[in-house]
C-alpha cells in the first residue's frame, strides 16, 4: 500500500483527498423516449456486388430513421474517389494500384463473373431494365439522408489517397479504435 501511495502516478489519477461527493444524477431521459437506433457498416470492398448492398442498406437505414455510419476501408475507399481523379498516390506502386483498379463510383468491378467488364455491363443493363437505383444514385441518397462515411486513415496512407482525392462530405478520417467504438455502440454492425 505504501508503495502505491508514494507512486507519483497514482495521485494524478485518484486524488487522495478528493471529495467523495457523488455528482448530481443526470436528468434521466424520459423512459418512453427511446434512443435513436444505430447501424454501422464496414465497407471493405470496392466491388460492385458489395458496394451496392452497402449503399442500399445504408440508405434504407437512414430512411428508416436509423443513424447510419459507414467505415470505409481498404479497397472500399476507391469508389469514394472523386470523378475527375484518375491516378492517385505518390510512388509508382500507389500509382500502379490506381491504374489497375480504376477508382470512382462509376467504375466498379464484380467480385465474380467480371469477364473483363462484360459482367458489370450486363448488370448495368438489367439495372436499367428493372429501374434499380445505381450506386451513384444510392450514394447521393445516402448523403442527402445524413449517412456518415468515415474513411480509414491507414488505408488512405497506404493507397496514397488525400482528403482532396475523396468526394465531398465525408467525415474526418479515423482508425480502427473509432470503428470498434461505433460498432460496439451500434444496434447492428455489418462487414460487407
Amino acid at each position: 500500500m505504501t508503495l502505491v501511495a508514494e507512486s507519483p502516478f497514482v495521485s494524478t489519477l485518484t486524488p487522495p483527498h478528493a471529495p467523495s461527493v457523488a455528482p448530481d444524477p443526470a436528468p434521466a431521459a424520459a423512459p418512453d423516449a427511446p434512443r435513436t437506433k444505430q447501424m454501422v457498416i464496414v465497407n471493405w470492398s470496392g466491388e460492385l456486388d458489395r458496394i451496392w448492398p452497402t449503399l442500399i442498406l445504408a440508405s434504407a437505414a437512414a430512411a428508416s430513421g436509423v443513424q447510419c455510419k459507414v467505415f470505409v476501408t481498404f479497397w472500399g475507399l476507391l469508389p469514394f474517389v472523386k470523378d475527375g481523379v484518375r491516378v492517385t498516390g505518390d510512388g509508382w506502386m500507389q500509382k500502379m494500384l490506381s491504374i489497375m483498379q480504376r477508382p470512382g463510383i462509376d467504375h466498379l468491378k464484380l467480385s465474380k463473373m467480371n469477364f473483363l467488364g462484360m459482367g458489370p455491363w450486363m448488370m448495368g443493363t438489367l439495372r436499367k431494365q428493372y429501374q434499380i437505383a445505381s450506386p451513384r444514385e444510392l450514394l447521393e441518397a445516402c448523403q442527402a439522408l445524413g449517412v456518415e462515411f468515415i474513411p480509414c486513415q491507414m488505408s488512405m496512407d497506404m493507397f496514397g489517397l488525400k482528403r482532396d482525392d475523396l468526394i465531398e462530405g465525408m467525415a474526418d478520417p479515423a482508425g480502427a479504435a473509432t470503428a470498434i467504438e461505433i460498432m460496439t455502440e451500434a444496434d447492428a454492425s455489418l462487414f460487407i
Binding site: K37, I56, S59, A60, A62, A63, S64, G65, V66, Y130, Q131, I132, A133, E137, L138, A141, A144, L145
Partner: protein
C-alpha cells in the same frame, strides 16, 4: 375501400428497393405530425417493407392494399 383524406401523394411506381422507402422518408421530412401521405408502388417487396418502415420509424401505416400488382399505402406522420 375506406376513403382517407391524404395531404400528399408519392408516385413510386416503377422504382425498385430501396427507393420507394428513401423517397417516402425524404417527403415525410417536409411534412408535419399528423399529416398523411399516400404512396403508390409497384415493388412487390414494398408490402412488407412499408409495414417494417412504419414499425421502425413509428409513423402510422393507416392502410395497405394491393390491386393488380399496384400497391397503395397511407401513412401518417407521427
Amino acid at each position: 375501400m375506406a376513403l382517407i383524406q391524404v395531404d400528399k401523394v408519392l408516385d413510386a411506381r416503377g422504382l425498385a428497393c430501396p427507393m420507394p422507402i428513401v423517397k417516402t422518408a425524404q417527403l415525410m421530412k417536409t411534412m408535419t405530425a399528423g399529416q398523411t401521405l399516400e404512396v403508390v408502388s409497384t415493388d412487390a417487396g414494398s408490402i412488407k417493407d412499408f409495414a417494417a418502415w412504419s414499425r421502425t420509424t413509428g409513423n402510422l401505416l393507416l392502410e395497405s392494399s394491393s390491386d393488380a400488382a399496384v400497391y397503395r399505402f397511407v401513412l401518417q406522420k407521427a
